[in-house]
Subunit: 134 residues, 2 copies
Amino acid sequence: MSFTQVELDYLASQKLGRLATEQPGGTLQVSPVGFTHNAELGTIDIGGFNMATSRKYRNVVANGKVAFVVDDIASVQPWRVRCLEIRGTAEGIDGPDGALIRVRPRRIISFGLGETDVEPHLLTPNKRDVATSN
Amino acid sequence: MSFTQVELDYLASQKLGRLATEQPGGTLQVSPVGFTHNAELGTIDIGGFNMATSRKYRNVVANGKVAFVVDDIASVQPWRVRCLEIRGTAEGIDGPDGALIRVRPRRIISFGLGETDVEPHLLTPNKRDVATSN
């Protein structure tokens, strides 16, 4: 399993993530997306209205490059942002229930999850490469 | 002025954005960042703890490629996400008050801002290229 339980709980608690992709010409783009963790495959699956015609979908089909982040502000005073970032590859899947982007993690970086008692500047990220099963 | 008043009001209302950058080897990354709109320059300025040593700062210094998005969930039922995405170039500035990433918009895409009475699937994005003054 790529994700820790704390990370899975965090993913389940958040409604929105942000997906970065790259256009064939090199321009980066980033946009908010709904998502689900696919427990069977260990992927992040991203659907949405008109996905198949979206630029981000076409970007993924073209080059498979993505980064994805889920974050929130746990506290403003002190300033405390939690996040889970996933770098990896993605594929566009156009199935009977609509198109989706499937993100396979290669590197996971989480920060501040389940550590609300630690002074923010003392937090260290949990960074690691993860194996891809297929 | 690159931004409309509705977009400026939206930027001022949100505490967190997400910045996508690209590592020299081609890997994308995306992370939550605090930001300010620099009204004098028409840029988005992004500071933060240990910015100068961060990977995103080094990515920007290396290739200047960025995308930046601010978004929130205006309503869950019906599902209504608002967002303002900026694609452009950025530079890393290491000044006496600390390092920052300065984002110069080339293309702005806003969606759902100030249109809370419109049925979500009828919303259309406001997309346009913007001139850079320098």
